[in-house]
């Protein structure tokens, strides 16, 4: 009885420790606008939106082992839903949001059938091709998409008469959505589905052998990931009040992959990676047109020096700084189950 109580205490303490970093992080993000100019707040919103994109992509790449080079398609679906509905119909935020999410879900359903049997490079190529088709439509079908000029005339977002388009208010709306996505993806990462997805990544054969319909698990992961990415796209369109073909370009997908690789880890890593890549894009882009080259070099450096990303780096640093605390935690955990230890000893004697 006391065992289960202390075990609960340990797990609560462990869980509490894991909560500290996100709470501090989001707390800082909530406070920081007071120290920033409007332009900087605008940039921070853009970075957070890219963070949503990176987190969504990581569900596919990090959890599911499905490296997609076409994730911009879903981000673009959200953004273009807003752009098209504003440009042609002057629709409001709520409708644009719903259409954006639904369009991404539908596209993911279709693309999901195309990549059912595809793995590795084939998966990269098919997703790239699918997104390029829509990038082509965005640039060429001028009557609808206004081509390279893009779609403008997106009015300030409002819902039930509440206008939240001012830079600071919009920043907080974005922050709340980011926090929501963060919580949702953290929940998914701990859920049976999240683990099965990682199981599929590690060993499809094994998952089939325990009765998992691998194809459908992968398909659902793509749809969830696409819907979250499109949420980022919708926020992007209202942030910039403009949507151009660039959101659908392969470089957007590539930036997302870089953010995921840079961040590493489960949910927080890709978010941080997205923030960093979003910042770099803005800073480097303002000095030079060779933005892609710089990011390419960064990609190579990450692959060589940070194979587990920033999250991996943080973990190693944490382990070096607090080895004693870790050891203490492990000791407590082990002390919790003396019953099991006895069973194992008997087992051992039996074998010997």
């Amino acid at each position: 009885m006391s065992n289960s109580v202390s075990s609960t205490l340990v797990s609560l303490r462990l869980r509490g420790a894991k909560l500290v970093a996100p709470v501090l992080g989001f707390g800082a993000l909530a406070m920081i606008p007071y120290a920033l100019t409007l332009n900087e707040i605008h940039l921070l919103s853009a970075m957070l939106i890219f963070g949503i994109f990176a987190m969504s992509l990581n569900l596919l790449v990090g959890f599911g082992g499905m490296a997609s080079l076409g994730h911009a398609l879903f981000f673009g679906a959200g953004a273009y839903a807003v752009g098209l509905l504003s440009f042609h119909r002057d629709s409001g935020f709520a409708l644009s949001l719903l259409v954006g999410l639904a369009a991404a879900a539908l596209l993911a359903l279709v693309v999901g059938f195309l990549v059912r049997r595809a793995r590795g490079t084939a998966y990269l190529m098919i997703t790239l091709a699918a997104s390029q088709v829509f990038w082509g439509l965005a640039t060429q079908w001028k009557a609808v998409t206004n081509g390279d000029d893009g779609l403008f005339g997106i009015s300030s977002p409002s819902i039930l008469g509440w206008d939240f388009g001012s830079t600071v208010t919009y920043y907080y709306v974005v922050l709340v959505v980011v926090a929501g996505v963060f919580v949702l993806l953290t929940a998914i990462s701990r859920s049976p589905f999240g683990y099965v997805l990682r199981g599929v990544r590690d060993n499809e054969q094994r998952m089939r052998a325990v009765g998992v319909d691998v194809d459908r698990i992968r398909h659902l992961a793509l749809v969830i990931s696409a819907v979250i990415a499109s949420l980022g796209g919708v926020l992007y369109a209202y942030q910039e009040r403009y949507v151009g073909p660039d959101v659908l370009a392969a470089t957007t997908s590539g930036d997302g992959l870089l953010a995921v690789a840079l961040g590493g880890g489960a949910v927080a890593g890709p978010l941080v990676g997205g923030l960093v890549v979003g910042l770099l894009e803005d800073v480097v882009g303002s000095y030079t047109d060779r933005y892609l080259m710089i990011l390419g070099i960064l990609f190579v450096l990450v692959a060589i020096f940070l194979p587990r990303g920033l999250a991996g780096l943080a973990q190693s640093l944490g382990d070096t700084v607090r080895p004693r605390r870790r050891a203490a935690e492990q000791a407590i955990e082990q002390r919790v189950e003396p019953a099991q230890a006895e069973v194992t000893e008997t087992e051992g004697a039996h074998h010997g």
Partner: protein, 255 residues
Amino acid sequence: MAEPVLEVSGLSKSFGGISVLSDVGFSVARGERRGIIGPNGAGKTTLFNVLSGYLPADAGTVRLCGSDVTTLPAHRRARMGLGRTFQIVALCDELTVEENVLLGLVASNRGEWRLLGSLRGRRGLVERSRELLSEAGLIDLREHKVKAIAYGHRRVLEIVMALTSRARVLLLDEPAAGLSGEESLRMIPLLERLDRDLTIVLIEHDMDVMFNTVDRLLVLDHGTILLEGTPEEVRSSDLVRERYLGTQHAAGAGS
């Protein structure tokens, strides 16, 4: 004889014109331990892959507990009670030992679609996984990532994984492959302790493991059944000695 749970008839499979299985038929009764032996390339693993749905059959039928499963995909057969292990260990390397077991358990309850609620917080599953891991002697390793545990332990976990589903028939593909002599001897009590209601089909080159475990043997050669019988009958068969056991023992004497 108890009712058959696995019935195979007229099973054939060829790869690019090369026949790997031709007209294979046999049936295994409930609770029976059936061994399959034969030289390399006899078609043993291919037979397992066709039985479990990893490869489609060219001809013939596979019946599991009375229903025809010949065209069902692997995961459907698994849900109907067909568990299997792989010759090359197939585990989730980046997850811990316990997480692997929990995955198997959650899938057997059709829980893999739950997006909310913690997998590791599901009391019933955790208890069952600790039971299974204790029985298999892996309990101390439960928090280790699979990629960090010894090969012999992975072999044992491979069997535990097959037990996580509500398997009624277990196909074990060389459970002792790559193990040292001592390690493979430890595999014997593990196999003996398995529920007597469980039907087991075993491929194994280690004859100590094989003759200690099975009730009946099936000898495959070039994709056809050479002989079916008790271990004694097989051991005393001149044909088998000449084609398989003789060369195997001679070749395997050093190992």
